[in-house]
């Protein structure tokens, strides 16, 4: 029963995180199209980021719960698999990125691309369980995806931006 509960919690965390990361980008692109973010729009964005942090909290706590379950049931092979270690690295990037954005050290465009790509990468790695690639290979694909997503977000924002301010 514990295993099922942890899996459900893990999936809810991922869904909240991926969904809110997606809507954070949609809202930001829509709200910033006139270069003015109103107080109401700021509140909507703040709420979206709160949901994202809640998702991250659920993901991390249930993730460690699952690790404990695997340790107590002696099924520890997964803990050293490339997919699992890559997923942990991506979650670490998500947390670090949030801190750097808060400290205004990370440029927003880079931080947004990292956040969105990291959430989807965590989802994909969690769904695939085990892939035929090494830890380094997975991280190279991930870095490539960050660049592609960053470029796509730039094009999307330029497309929806008001003509006067382009």
């Amino acid at each position: 029963m514990w295993y099922e509960l942890l899996i459900i919690m893990h999936i809810i965390g991922t869904v909240l995180g991926v969904g809110s990361a997606t809507f954070a980008e949609i809202h930001y692109t829509r709200f910033n199209s006139d270069d003015i973010i109103t107080d109401d729009e700021k509140k909507t964005l703040a709420l979206t980021y709160t949901v994202m942090r809640t998702g991250l909290f659920l993901l991390v706590v249930s993730g460690f719960g699952l690790l404990l379950y695997l340790r107590l049931t002696e099924y520890t092979d997964l803990l050293t698999s490339a997919t699992f270690l890559a997923k942990m690295t991506v979650i670490g990037v998500l947390v670090g990125n949030a801190l750097l954005l808060q400290a205004r050290i990370m440029p927003f465009a880079v931080g947004a691309a990292l956040s969105l790509t990291s959430w989807y990468t965590a989802l994909v790695l969690g769904s695939l369980r085990d892939v035929d690639a090494s830890y380094i290979e997975i991280l190279i694909y991930y870095a490539g995806a960050v660049v592609v997503v960053g470029g796509a977000l730039r094009l999307i924002r330029a497309h929806f931006h008001g003509p006067k301010n382009v």
Partner: protein
């Protein structure tokens, strides 16, 4: 492993992870120019309690079970570095964490009545160090478990 030892291990891991998460939230708030020190001092003291709880339960688990039942299996297995490097590093560095958490909580309690921008920045830096050590400790714990 007895149910009691399993409970000790669960408290150690979950307590530690939540305490690390609290330091993450604390750092996010300390990076603001005017953080809510009442909220921050409450969660900072909660982190202190959780780190000491995590510390005490891990000590019991280590002394009564790990050394005799787990350590020999890791040393004889495919990843002996799980104990030789990661556990040895973890058990020494983790000693620092509860006291770092205590220092952070004391600084924030002082800031609550005496706001000071320089101290806020220094406390944020100390929290960043605690967060880094906490994350490294958690990572080492995963590798140790994976080495069994």
């Amino acid at each position: 492993m007895t149910p009691f030892l399993a409970t000790m291990l669960v408290i150690h891991v979950i307590g530690g992870v939540i305490a690390i998460g609290i330091h993450n939230v604390t750092l996010m708030h300390l990076l603001k120019k005017s953080p809510n020190y009442v909220f921050l001092s409450r969660i900072a003291w909660a982190a202190v309690a959780l780190f000491f709880l995590s510390w005490a339960t891990s000590a019991y688990y280590y002394v009564t079970y790990y050394g005799t039942a787990v350590k020999p299996r890791i040393l004889a297995g495919a990843l002996p570095a799980g104990h030789i490097f990661f556990m040895e590093t973890k058990e020494h560095i983790f000693l620092v964490l509860p006291f770092l958490a205590l220092s952070i909580a004391l600084c924030i309690s002082y800031l609550r009545t005496n706001p000071d921008d320089a101290l806020r920045k220094s406390t944020a830096f100390l929290t960043l160090i605690a967060l880094g050590i906490g994350a490294a400790t958690a990572g080492a714990g995963i590798i140790v478990s994976g080495s069994v």
